[in-house]
């Protein structure tokens, strides 16, 4: 499990206090506002309930398991603006793409060197494709 001491957060609001519950529990409890998605679970099941969600935690059981990237984009594309946290086997070399997919907080199982994170998050001056961040794809820069 992730150690709270290792967490990174890219939001200005106060962290949400309520612990994240399982997807099943969230769908059962009409007042739940924090939910945890396991790697194989369908993020679209949350879409009808986004108005009450303040934290979605997406599990990365192994860093090679990339399902969470699609889950994050689906939620952001559906208009979710609350905290989106990547939890588990999250490595420093993955932060950039996770940020591009809409994650704005990280609860890694092992510590991440903040200096390396800062360097890698800013290493690419341009991107080739739009995602769920505000980076402008080069085709837009080329054509104004």
């Amino acid at each position: 499990m992730a150690d709270p001491a290792f967490s990174l957060r890219f939001r200005d609001d106060e962290p949400h206090e309520e612990p994240a519950v399982t997807l099943d529990a969230f769908l059962d409890q009409a007042d739940a506002s924090a939910v945890r998605l396991e790697a194989g679970e369908d993020a679209r099941l949350l879409i009808p309930h986004l108005a009450r969600v303040q934290l979605v935690e997406i599990a990365f059981p192994r860093f090679r398991d990339g399902r969470g990237y699609s889950a994050a984009r689906i939620l952001r594309e559906a208009g979710y603006a609350g905290e989106l946290r990547a939890e588990g086997d999250v490595l420093v070399d993955q932060l950039l793409f996770m940020r591009r997919c809409g994650f704005d907080s990280f609860a890694p199982a092992a510590p991440i060197d903040p200096e390396v994170a800062e360097r890698l998050l800013n290493i690419y001056p341009y991107v080739y494709q739009p995602a769920t961040d505000d980076a402008v794809p080069v085709w837009k820069l080329r054509h104004g």
């Binding site: 860093f63 090679r64 990237y69 699609s70 594309e77 341009y126 494709q129 085709w139």
Partner: protein, 544 residues
């Protein structure tokens, strides 16, 4: 040819910096091998039998002579004087040092090249028709779309930790020279009844241990929606592929498990959702890319006749030269399959020579083919004889294109850590057995493909004759397959029966060709005869 602008260059330069950083962290111990492996693979860096191996991307198999010379330079400076051209139109080097890999990437970046996503669970280098822009039978040049895909899939944030690798191929001719139906996504440019351009989209093909010929998932995709539709297919796969068994995670398995109809439905639903993101590349950007692929300034009024008085030249002309769309020009295939050689290998000197010849005779352009040969796409017919003499002097004039000795072979157990048996010695023995060119020509088109393990990098499933090396109690053993094709008549080869020793499989290949010579009817190729008469006569001859 496409040229980088400041954005492309900045992205590739940043990649070099990132990999230098990652390599330093690996060497310092900050990254474990488990953590580093996917990162180095995304830069085409493997750890193979004898050293690290670097696979350099040659996008859609197109490069210019400056880039080709850089490949020769890397072979000399960082490797052992040669490189190996691969079935996905790339080149790989066998003797690379990890500590030098960032410098190699930096050298490549100076000529607009890289090793991005040439391995790992990522969207790989897009492949295409090696005759694109030159072929007499294409409806348009497919490479602008291939370049568009290259850019859109480079560092795609959602699709960089995919269930497995993902390969895309694009063609625009009825003759399929890129094996599109054996790709994860195969795209064929077509015109609809209204004359508009679109793609036939095939999804879920592949070789490996569970081969499939891709079904047609969408008969007509408007060209402007190319990327969003690919994203939809990728997202369906990324979300719902198995993650518990590495051998069952390719998209072909998902297509098969869901069924073609259900998979198609899910992709269409996802596509409708993704269309709202406006991720498709606008037409203006396509036009910008396409302008780089305008035909070179072909001369007009050139002679069509070629002096055939040198008989050796005439043999090569008939076998290795193909029709060009521009009058007075021809497409030249340089075979990297000399008898006794290693299929796909070229020395640094040969690489330099091919670069020089491209500069002099082919508007500075070269292509790599999925059959591991090199193409000079735009050669004046009047220059063919001089060009042939230069190739011949360098051992590059083997007149065996598409013949039995034009063998596709993976590196096998001589180089590869996954292999179970050697491939190259088998290829060399078969080429030796059929060394007489007259005998090869009598056999006609015969695509022989050898893999040293079940991963099928040597395309044995798609060979008219396929050979699969296996490990039988610690010794090399070879299974024989017949009847495959990676072309427009795509089919999967079937195994003949029990396997053979190295010499035994060479004998079995010869027996199979004898059955063909006995049974063939007018105009039939080996694979046509096999399809008509079936496996039995071959089995009888081989095992009887």
């Amino acid at each position: 040819m496409y040229k980088y602008d400041q954005y492309d260059q900045a992205i590739v330069d940043a990649r070099v910096a990132e990999f230098r950083d990652q390599t330093a962290r690996r060497l310092s111990g900050a990254l474990s091998e488990d953590q580093f492996k996917p990162l180095r693979l995304k830069n085409g860096l493997y750890l193979q039998l004898h050293a690290y191996m670097l696979r350099v991307a040659i996008p859609y198999g197109t490069l210019d002579s400056r880039q080709m010379r850089m490949l020769g330079h890397i072979a000399r400076k960082y490797d052992r004087g040669y490189g190996h051209f691969t079935t996905r139109q790339n080149i790989q080097y066998n003797w690379i040092k990890l500590e030098q890999a960032p410098d190699i990437l930096a050298d490549l970046a100076t000529v607009e090249m890289h090793a991005i996503q040439t391995s790992g669970e990522s969207i790989r280098n897009v492949s295409s028709d090696q005759y694109a822009g030159a072929a007499a039978d294409e409806i348009c040049d497919p490479r602008p779309w291939a370049e568009l895909i290259r850019q859109a899939t480079t560092f795609h944030p959602e699709f960089s930790y995919l269930p497995r690798k993902f390969k895309i191929a694009v063609t625009a001719a009825d003759e399929d020279r890129a094996a599109i139906r054996l790709h994860d996504i195969g795209l064929k440019l077509v015109r609809n009844d209204a004359g508009e351009l679109g793609f036939e989209v095939y999804i879920g093909g592949g070789m490996g241990r569970t081969p499939f010929v891709a079904p047609l998932i969408r008969p007509f995709l408007p060209v402007d929606n190319l990327f969003s539709y690919c994203e939809a297919a990728l997202r369906v796969w990324n979300r719902w592929a198995r993650r518990d068994n590495i051998h069952k995670q390719r998209i072909k398995i998902l297509v098969h498990d869901l069924g073609q109809e259900e998979f198609t439905r899910q992709v269409e639903v996802e596509w409708q959702a993704i269309l709202a993101n406006n991720s498709d590349v606008p037409r203006a950007e396509f036009d910008r890319i396409a302008a780089f692929f305008e035909p070179p300034p072909f001369e007009t009024g050139l002679p069509e006749d070629v002096d055939r008085s040198d008989p050796d030249f005439a043999v090569w002309l008939d076998q290795n030269v193909r029709a060009h769309k521009a009058p007075g020009y021809a497409i030249v295939n340089i075979s990297l399959k000399p008898t006794g050689g290693i299929p796909g290998d070229a020395s640094a000197d040969q690489i330099d020579l091919m670069a020089d010849l491209a500069e002099r005779y082919s508007f500075d352009e070269l292509r790599v083919t999925h059959a591991q040969n090199i193409v000079l796409p735009h050669v004046k017919k009047a220059d063919l004889y001089t060009l042939w003499q230069a190739l011949d002097a360098a051992g590059l004039a083997s007149a065996n294109l598409d013949l039995i000795s034009d063998i596709i072979a993976c590196p096998g157990l001589d180089y590869c850590s996954l292999a179970n048996a050697r491939s190259i010695p088998v290829a060399q023995k078969i080429a030796g057995r059929f060394a007489d060119l007259g005998r090869q020509k009598e056999l006609g088109e015969l695509k022989l493909k050898i893999s040293g393990c079940i991963n099928a990098c040597g395309h044995h499933h798609a060979g008219h004759i396929g050979i699969l090396g296996v490990d039988r109690k610690g010794t090399e053993n070879y299974q024989l397959l017949l009847g495959g094709s990676g072309a427009e008549d795509a089919s999967l080869a079937k195994i003949t029966g029990p396997g053979f020793s190295e010499d035994g499989v060479v004998d079995a290949v010869e027996k199979a060709t004898n059955v063909y010579l006995r049974e063939r009817q007018d105009g039939e190729r080996f694979v046509d005869t096999y399809r008509r008469v079936g496996m039995e006569p071959f089995k009888e001859a081989i095992y009887g």
